[in-house]
Amino acid sequence: MSDFLNSCKHYASVGSFQGRMALQRQLEYPLFLVSWLIMIPLKYLIGVWMLKILVDQFQPLAGWTFPQLAFLYGLGMLSHGLMVVVSIQSWFLDHMVIQGGFDRMLLRPLNVFFQFTFMYLNLIGCVDLIPAVIIFVTGCSLTGFDWTFGNSVGVLSVVLGATLIRSSFYTLTACVAFWTKRATHMRAIGHDLMERSTLYPLSIYPKAFQWILTFVIPLGFISFYPSTALLNINHGTALPLEIAMWTPIIGIAMFGLSQIVFNRGLRAYESAGS
């Protein structure tokens, strides 16, 4: 037991120091941060504004009104922002495979998956969280979302679980690079799929696609199913409401799976260059 505690302490000490170093590093280039500070909130605020125009001009999307859509969009964006803060490296795993970026990690007496997962803290992610909070708070207020204790815990667990689903999903798609040495296209497809399935209700898509995003690639649990449960929306959902809040469980399962695939991939790692 004391060995385990010592080991936890060791990993915590390295992880927190790596995080601190990453932040210090970014603060060396403040102008870079400022440019993102303008671009990212604009991109997502325009996105939700477009949704409002669509719903106002035409009709509710698969029965979803604008307040409900804003709630879903904001909920999805919260885990997106958090993922960009803690797990942006999962977007670049393929580069690391191709350029021999795991050599140094393999030379350290630490688990490689841990080093990869906790190697970086990205300040720019905080910029993504700004529109996320604005849109989510607007959605909550427009829908009259009731901040009971249960609902608050629910939102928190969904956001954390969804962050795990997102980063595990990116890790899994990029792990292809261990075998193919190239995964940029996978990353691009994954990114599109992620945006389209988490910012809009799944019920606007054909049944087969919904089924895939529920049982095969469970991205539906990032914002769609939890929103149906939290707002008590019944139209067009494929799942019973009790399972809709399983986001943390699915997040942990996907995280476990991504670790297994990562470790398998690492055995095929060829450490390019000399």
């Binding site: 170093m21 590093r25 280039y29 393999l106 030379l107 350290r108 055995r267 450490s271």
Partner: protein, 324 residues
């Protein structure tokens, strides 16, 4: 101690053909082939040795080093580092290794050098007292004080390499792998690195495996050489033995007062004639330099002469040419 037994490493590569047609063919029916980068390498390195691991580009040096350090898994064969396999117990083995890649720094580019040392302290769980003592040693051996607070990106190549060496030695590993540690450095910086390597070897009996193309490094540091070519060990032994066996000749350069005379001595070859200058080469096991000089001076008046010993470059030339 390092033991490598019959190491083999194969890579599967896709054959690339030229042109659009080749690219399409590669897409539809890729032709895969197996390339053997390391082909049955065996050696044993004892504690405290400094071994030069040499060979031309693409000979398999880096692949071997990556297998020894646990980065790559061998296709077959066995590696034991202090009796433990780096592939079965990677974290245990690397706890005792220091590795410096001359072309890839492990230092944090944007931060002051000291931050990278602090990270090493946490990774290797070095106690505060031990860390302070090690830092003092490193400061005195490598002169770190003057640039410890400078961001790594602003360091000269020589300073950066000194920083890399310090980072690799902070946890006092028993084995140090150095992959081209003097590449691109000026003469003074090279000498500082070599002095450091000698020092840690003498002080702590650190085993050092050095891959380099700089023969000065080899001559100054390595008592033993392992030469690899086409993935196989082609030479392994003390530096002097290799020179004796592979370059057993000596050369005399003679500057004559007048025209170069005709020299015909059994076993002595004329390798170069240029104006009044002539270079003779002979087997140093069969002749002494004195006997050749005396034979020459009997034939013509000599203004000046010098004796040239064979160099490590002459020994290695054949392998490097072979690969060119």
């Amino acid at each position: 101690m390092i033991e490598a037994t019959n190491l083999i490493k194969e890579f599967r590569v896709t054959k690339k053909e030229s042109g659009l047609r080749g690219a399409l063919k590669g897409l539809i029916r890729p032709e895969r082939e197996t390339v053997r980068a390391v082909d049955g390498v065996s050696f044993r390195i004892n504690k405290g040795e400094i071994v030069g691991y040499l060979g031309p580009n693409g000979a398999g040096k880096s692949t071997t080093v990556k297998m020894l350090t646990g980065i790559l898994h061998p296709t077959s064969g066995e590696i034991l580092i202090n009796g433990v396999s780096p592939h079965r117990e990677r974290t245990r083995v690397v706890q005792n290794l220091g590795v410096v890649f001359g072309q890839r720094t492990q230092l944090n580019w944007d931060l002051r050098l000291g931050e990278s040392f602090e990270l090493q302290r946490r990774i290797y769980r070095i106690s505060d007292d031990r860390f302070a003592a090690q830092m003092d040693t490193m400061r005195s051996l490598l002169g770190l004080t003057e640039f410890e607070n400078t961001p790594v990106r602003q360091l000269s190549l020589g300073q950066r390499m000194r920083g890399d060496l310090a980072a690799a030695m902070l946890h006092s590993p028993s084995i140090l792998f150095l992959d081209e540690p003097t590449i691109g450095l000026d003469l003074t910086a090279k000498q500082a690195i070599r002095d450091f390597i000698r020092e840690v070897n003498t002080l702590h009996q650190t085993t050092i495996i050095l891959t380099t193309h700089d023969l000065e490094d080899v001559e100054q540091l390595c008592k033993r050489l392992i030469v690899i070519n086409h993935g196989r060990v082609v030479e392994d032994g003390p530096l002097e033995d290799l020179i004796d066996r592979l370059a057993p000749y000596r050369q005399i350069e003679i500057d004559f007062v007048q025209e170069v005379p005709v020299i015909e001595i059994q076993g002595v070859d004329v390798v170069e004639v240029n104006g009044n200058r002539m270079v003779l080469q002979f087997d140093r096991r069969a002749f002494s330099a004195a006997s050749v000089i005396s034979a020459v001076t009997q034939r013509a008046a000599v203004r000046d002469l010098s004796v040239r010993e064979p160099e490590i470059a002459d020994v290695l030339k054949r392998y490097y040419q072979d690969s060119a």
